[in-house]
């Protein structure tokens, strides 16, 4: 049976998997957008993505977990005094 998606032209591996694809109701369900990242040929490396996610959280959490500098307590005092006068 000819493969209407044209995937069989690629190589032996693709031809074998094409049989699988044909069993699905529509070819649109196999578009790249429906596949998890790891199965996409050109998607980002999951290991790199994971490392980036970790570093992003670290960038944020390192600062969020620091004690609040005194200047902000001082600022609050000034703001409250200002209100008291107003």
């Amino acid at each position: 049976m000819p493969c209407i998606a044209g995937l069989c032209k690629m190589d032996g591996g693709a031809a074998a998997s094409c049989g699988e694809l044909m069993k699905k109701p529509t070819h649109s369900s196999t578009s790249a957008g429906m596949l998890p990242d790891g199965q996409r040929g050109h998607g980002p490396d999951p290991v790199v993505e994971e490392a980036i996610g970790r570093q992003l959280r670290k960038l944020y959490d390192d600062v969020a977990s620091e004690p609040v500098p005194d200047r902000f307590a001082e600022l609050l005092r000034q703001l409250e005094q200002q209100d008291g006068k107003g």
Partner: protein, 168 residues
Amino acid sequence: MAVSQQLRDGLIGNIPSLRAFAYSLCGNPTRADDLVQETMVKAWANFSSFQEGTNLRAWLFTILRNEFYSQMRKKGREVEDADGMIAERQAVLGNQESHIELEELKQALNQLPDDQREAIILVGASGMAYEEAAAICGVAVGTMKSRVSRARKRLAEMLQRDEFELAV
């Protein structure tokens, strides 16, 4: 108008997140704290327009974000950050690998378009839900999702390439 104790406590409680958000956005610790200070002053002056019971963090983040972009329009970001990054980069030479990785991430973040940078910081770094991040940036949830996804892809491309260049 006097600021309620609840709002005052809410503001204090949000200072650590505001500092982290500001630092992630601008990459400069002093400037980040200046941004937080401006945000607190503006918040204090405008608490009368805040609806109690709604999301205070999102309201404060929105003020900080607007302040950041308004300063950026006035002062520009490029020159100042380039200097800061060179200094920091020299400071970390010879340090632990993780520090260098963090510097690389900061440089990569700096190269993202503004809308993608703020999206990945809010969702990927602070762990905020798409809905809250979308409200802060004034866009639809779908738009926020696509910005985060593009930012992730772009960061991975930049950092993957760095890794490759370091290896050869």
